[in-house]
Amino acid sequence: MGRQALIDRIWLEAVKTPILSCENLEYCEEDGTCLFSELSFRLETGQRGVLLADPHRCATILLKICATLISPTGGQISWFGQNSDQIDGPGLYKLRRRIGFVHRETSLISNMTILDNISLGLQYHEEMVLEQSYDRVTELLKQFELYEYRFLRPAELTFEQRRLAVYARELVKKPQLYLLEHPSLDLGERVYSLLLDVFKTCSIEDGCAFLVASIIPEVIHRWGDWVLVFDKGQCHHFEVGQFDPSIYRESMKRRGALLSREWRGE
């Protein structure tokens, strides 16, 4: 086999391997309440999935399971072809570097400056000297209009700037899988569009996959290739064309599940 053919084969294998794969996933709480069961989906290179859930806790738990922060009570989950039971402690930390997770409560380290927060991973994993790591993040800081606030601590920034700094921190890692909860939270329309552009570039150029949890059905137009809807412990899978956000929204409204402030920015 020629060298080029070998490279092609390895590349094809890599592309074929799903970035995230769940089979019959189940999560039950200690009191026996099952939030979801028999949940299966695959997230391939460059794909974008959306999770819509009522209650939203199901989506949060699923995102945390995908981020390796909690373990499912049943079923199989694998990242980049690696099964969860094959990963040991240090392997888990290596895997987390390949996952960008922005939870709605994700925070920055409060006693570090924004610059240190964003370049922390580079300083720790890549043994960069301070100036080197700062240079690497400068471009991103300028793009997110955080450059002039780089020496401030998180408490000195607005919610929007803090949220952007969290996104910047995840982007610097250059992960292959992004797990985002309420991506529009605390962001104005202009900044949200900017963020979407950045993520679109990641998806197209680097083949990054996205799993986005939201309570707003319209998010599927901006983020999704497919959508998973959790409803009363049941899980339904739709392709983009099959899903009608307005029907979902109406049914949610009837139940009074959505809060008005959570519609902001969409």
């Binding site: 930390y93 290596k94 570097r97 997770f101 380290i109 409060s110 300083q123 890692k173």
Partner: protein, 277 residues
Amino acid sequence: MRYAFFEIVMQAAHYFHMVTGSCGRWFLQKLYRLVDILGFFVVCLKTTLRYRHTGQRLMARTFIQQIYFTGVQSLELICLIALLVGGLVVIQGIAQLTRVGSRNVLASLLTVVIIREVGPLLTAVVVTLRSGSAIAIEMGYMTVLREIESLEMQGIDPLHFLTLPRLVGVTVSVICLIVFFNIVSIFGGFVVAWTLVDVPFWALFSDLAREVNGVDIIVGSVKAFVFGLTIALVCMYHGFRTGEAITNIPPQVSRALVDCFILCIFFNVLISALFYL
């Protein structure tokens, strides 16, 4: 009559059972916590060995910051306390020794009281109150505000990144502070002795040099090492166990400080007994 006596006996047995039961429960609780803290220490050591080549520059910076906070910034306080304690020991020593006419054992008293016991213990108490509480609060806040989770998602093991520089920093600082405390407090004692009873400064100094032996220095170093490790470890252990509610921080910090104090006294007695009995 017999029935009343039987009732009193039963009541007494009941109270005895209650008291011994709660004592036993208290003891077991403390024992479990101690075992848990030891387990935490083992996990920290394993993590340190596993990631010994990771993030060295960053860790060195955090280590220096910790030394500055625990060691350098508490110098003033330690200096003041050491001077006062040294003077106090000499005042009491002179008052008691003059009665029995053995003022010449003043240097020996200073060695026994300050270098062997009070110096290490008081330094440990000051470091616990100043830095131990700060560490427990910092870890508690980081847990509550999900900063620990953020670190984990950066692929950084918090046990390595947060624990190692603090463990080493506090231990090194405590060792240096104990040496500093001993020097300052003996100097303070000498000054008081020289001023109050006109004991020649150099006579006291030569007596002291004769009294302090290798065992005292080894014991001082062992105590300093154990106290430093205990303070950092216990405070971090309690900080990490804060849970999700911000209201858990004050009780956890108070538990950390009490545990540090008890453990330091316990280890002080243990080490003294091992070396001097």
